[in-house]
């Protein structure tokens, strides 16, 4: 596609690999140089400005913040400059220089991302795999003992069961409510205001949300005035107040409501965008055929945005697997509300057993594998 594509001579594989390695090597060298220059510059500016700046913590924080971001910009700019100087697009070797520069440049662009992802995500995954075969402090090899323990552990089974509930209920409900509110708000004048209000919980942290919902589920014994709205409604209609988050099995759903409440806005915004992307002609044709608004919605619009629905569903599913804040803040897994992520946290910090914690973490990863495979397939399709 690119006019100066890197059609390296492919006589044998070995030179190609060597060539690739050399490219990476030069890229690495330039990366370090570019970073070095920008960091030294940032340091110099820091020293210079700090000398004039008054002793205020806030100002210094702002300065450090600005310089951190500037150093990041500086890297991209600097490394590209170095590359252009090393392989100038002029002179006698112009063709070879452009080719080399074009082979190296993607790695300058990708470098920081690859390095950071490698350190922060790939390395811990490998580390966890190793730890899952070791005992509590990660020193003695225990083989599959952690996995065997997990298979028999009742609390693990409970967490699995709850996680499956979460995986089924939360993405489905959030996507459903998101779709409904997207479809409805697109039809009315004050739709944008309504959208903003429904999206608002997205902006609330899990911890903040937990405070809000604790207030809703608050329980006072029968006879005293309820300050939690749910119990107030129940008692208003003559029912007995309930300690909602302690009701077995049901309490899981009361916790899920919190995440649905947060994620519906996300689903709504994305699905609303997708709905608007449907070509007008298809819908007009259906109207002429005499289809009712409901038929149009279910038979024409929904199939058109099926792909987006899947993306929303996937994103929320991944989030559900990782969620632990809500459970930790509301119940800490008591009353049968344990989920895998919190259970892992529990073994890590209360059980002090890194082997078992890692094993649970790997189970969480394994549970998302189908989604990962699906996503990779989609991405591949996209590349072609």
């Amino acid at each position: 596609m690119a006019i100066s594509s890197t059609e390296a001579p492919r006589s044998t594989h070995l030179p190609a690999i060597l060539h690739f390695a050399a490219t990476l090597g030069v890229a690495l060298f330039i990366m370090i140089a570019g970073l070095g220059i920008s960091v030294v510059a940032a340091l110099a500016v820091f020293t210079a400005v700090n000398a004039i700046l008054p002793d205020i913590k806030l100002l210094q924080a702002v300065l450090v913040m600005l310089l951190g971001v500037a150093a990041c910009f500086g890297y991209f700019w600097g490394s590209n400059r170095i590359l252009d100087m090393a392989y100038p697009a002029r002179g006698e070797n112009i063709a070879a220089n452009i080719n080399s520069a074009n082979a190296i440049r993607p790695w300058l662009f990708l470098g920081p991302a690859v390095v950071i992802l490698g350190i922060y995500l790939v390395y811990p995954v490998i580390n966890s795999i190793i730890l899952s075969f070791h005992g509590p402090d990660g020193n003695q090899w225990v083989g599959g003992a952690n996995y065997a323990w997990l298979a028999k552990d009742a609390a693990f089974r409970e967490s699995m069961r709850n996680n499956i509930f979460w995986l089924i209920v939360v993405p489905t409900a959030a996507t459903f409510f998101g779709l409904v509110s997207a479809a409805l708000t697109d039809r009315i004048g004050w739709g944008n205001i309504a959208k903003s209000l429904i999206f608002m919980p997205m902006a609330i942290s899990f911890v903040g949300a937990s405070v809000i919902w604790k207030f809703i589920y608050d329980f006072r014994p029968q006879g005293s005035e309820q300050i939690g709205i749910l119990n107030a409604i129940v008692t208003f209609f003559g029912g007995d107040p309930q300690a909602w988050i302690t009701l077995p099995l049901w309490n899981n759903f009361f916790l899920m409501v919190i995440l649905i409440w947060i994620q519906t806005g996300f689903a709504m915004v994305i699905l609303s965008a997708a709905l608007r992307g449907i070509p007008e002609e298809t819908i007009e044709a259906a109207i002429i055929d005499g289809a009712s608004p409901f038929q149009i919605f279910y038979k024409i619009k929904v199939p058109q945005i099926w792909g987006t629905i899947a993306v929303v569903w996937t994103t929320i599913t991944i989030l559900v697997l990782k969620v632990f804040d809500i459970v930790l803040a509301m119940t800490n897994g008591q009353w049968g509300t344990q989920v895998l992520a919190n259970y892992m946290f529990d073994w890590m910090f209360r059980g002090l057993d890194f082997g078992r914690a890692s094993t649970i973490a790997l189970v969480i990863m394994a549970m998302v594998t189908p989604i990962m495979v699906w996503n990779i397939r989609e991405a591949r399709k996209d590349m072609k």
Binding site: N50, G68, F349, R350
Partner: protein
């Protein structure tokens, strides 16, 4: 590929430069009580310590569970250490101390000294080689200078990474748990007397029910730690139904959790908490009422309950303006007259351990051996000490002094069992088990489940 490392190192230099500039200009912290002025304090110990230590310009970090008011209190004590040595103590507190200290010690960013609210956690970390032994000299000092010294030494003695026992954690600040709080005027209005035996206490509970009121407020809610107040009940009742040796065996899991003696103690608790007539709001309210809200029932009009069993820290959750002795008071959670077990006392306390060795950290532990380090906090709030060298006159009020007496006059003193058990049990399965128990499960089943979990971590 060293780029992030390099960036990190440089930016670290950038970041760390900022706070240093600020802290350099800070003056010595204010001292709560001017040295030499109040005769209740042992100023000589302060001056001696000052003369023996000069650590000017050095710094140590102290990490503990105390926040807000308690944080101000510990800082009022460290201020004297700073004044005496010239070193700087940086205290930080967290309510998620238990997790934080694990992350920090494991990852190598440990504070110099950590304040453990639970010996179980300290013991876990010691066994991983993350604590520094304090030495026999300190252990001997505790033994000779604390009331019931040996039991305090045992509390801080753990097996290290190599399997040998050593003294790791210095007990400083104690709480008494065997207290029942009440409003004296409510007792007067109803004509009730403070019970002195468990039999009388149970008769009083019946009497209150017969009078159409509710004797107890019990709240086990505590967010993620829900259930812990029930463990205190069970431990207190264990000490009142079984000899202390059985209690020790229970703590060390030498008798199983579903041993009939343990099950009986749990059921003793159930006789209070699982009796709808005995507790405000009925049994279902026990689990869901926050332990901090629970004592407020004593002060309601009309009172929602007449008694509340809780540790010595609870007055900080009484309504604003409550004056101890006048608006609220406490009595010793009594023992059975018919069982010859004396007057057992359940307590808790915090333990100071060195997680990163330094000269200042060592000096700080030495500072805790001076009477003044105890008296400064005694003279403020919420601090009891078994240190016999500290002047009891320094206690800020009669309530504290009375609690101090309960602590020192106990025929049996035992530390909170849930704090001594491994974290997964004492701060996990035991809590959950108590919630299940109050929720309807039998004591036998709950005990068996906790035992199963204990077996799983052996």
């Amino acid at each position: 590929m060293k780029t992030p490392l390099l960036a990190g190192a440089v930016a670290l230099a950038l970041c760390s430069a900022a706070p240093m500039v600020v802290s350099g200009g800070a003056l010595a912290a204010d001292l709560k009580f001017a040295p030499g002025e109040d005769a209740r304090f042992n100023w000589k110990s302060f001056e001696d310590f000052k003369a023996a230590h000069d650590l000017s310009g050095q710094e140590m970090s102290l990490f503990g569970p105390w926040l807000s008011a308690d944080k101000d209190l510990i800082e009022s004590v460290t201020a004297y250490f700073e004044e005496a040595t010239g070193a700087k103590v940086k205290y930080s507190g967290s309510d998620s101390f238990e997790q934080q200290i694990v992350i920090d010690t494991q990852a190598g960013s440990a504070p110099n000294v950590a304040v453990f609210p639970q010996p179980g956690l300290a013991s876990d970390l010691a066994s991983k080689g993350l604590l520094v032994p304090l030495g026999n000299e300190t252990a001997d000092w505790i033994k000779n200078n604390y009331a019931a010294g040996q039991s305090w030494v045992d509390l801080g003695t753990y097996e290290g990474k190599d399997g040998t026992s050593a003294f790791y954690a210095f007990p400083y600040k104690a709480d008494v748990k065997s207290l029942v709080w009440f409003v004296p005027e409510n007792f007067e209005d109803a004509g009730y007397e403070v019970p002195t035996t468990m039999e009388e206490l149970k008769a009083l509970s019946e009497q209150i029910v017969a009078d159409g009121a509710t004797p107890w407020c019990i709240g086990l809610g505590s967010g993620g730690a829900t259930g812990w107040p029930a463990t205190d009940w069970v431990e207190d009742l264990m000490l009142r139904t079984q000899p202390p040796e059985v209690y020790d065996q229970w703590v060390r899991n030498e008798i199983p959790f579903d041993d009939e003696r343990v099950v009986a103690a749990i059921d003793e608790f159930g006789a209070f908490a699982k009796n709808d007539k005995y507790v405000d709001g009925g049994t279902s309210a026990v689990v869901s009422t926050d332990f901090r809200d629970s004592p407020k029932g004593l002060f309601a009009s009309p009172p929602k309950c007449y008694m509340h069993r809780q540790a010595s820290f609870i007055p900080s959750f009484f309504p604003e303006g409550t004056e101890l002795g006048r608006d609220a008071d406490f009595f010793y959670f009594p023992a059975y007259a018919e069982k010859d077990l004396g007057t057992p006392v359940l307590g808790a306390g915090t333990l100071f351990a060195i997680t990163k060795d330094s000269e200042v950290a060592r000096a700080f532990i030495d500072f805790l051996k001076t009477p003044i380090a105890h008296e400064i906090w005694m003279a403020q709030a919420g601090f009891l000490t078994p240190y016999t060298g500290a002047n009891p006159d320094a206690y800020a009020n009669d309530a504290l002094r009375k609690q101090g007496e309960i602590l020192t006059s106990a025929t049996t003193f035992r530390f909170d069992a849930s704090d001594l058990m491994p974290g997964k049990i004492g701060a996990g399965a035991f809590w959950t088990g108590m919630i299940d128990y109050v929720g309807g499960k039998s004591a036998k089943d709950v005990g068996a489940e906790i035992q199963k979990e204990w077996d799983a971590i052996k």
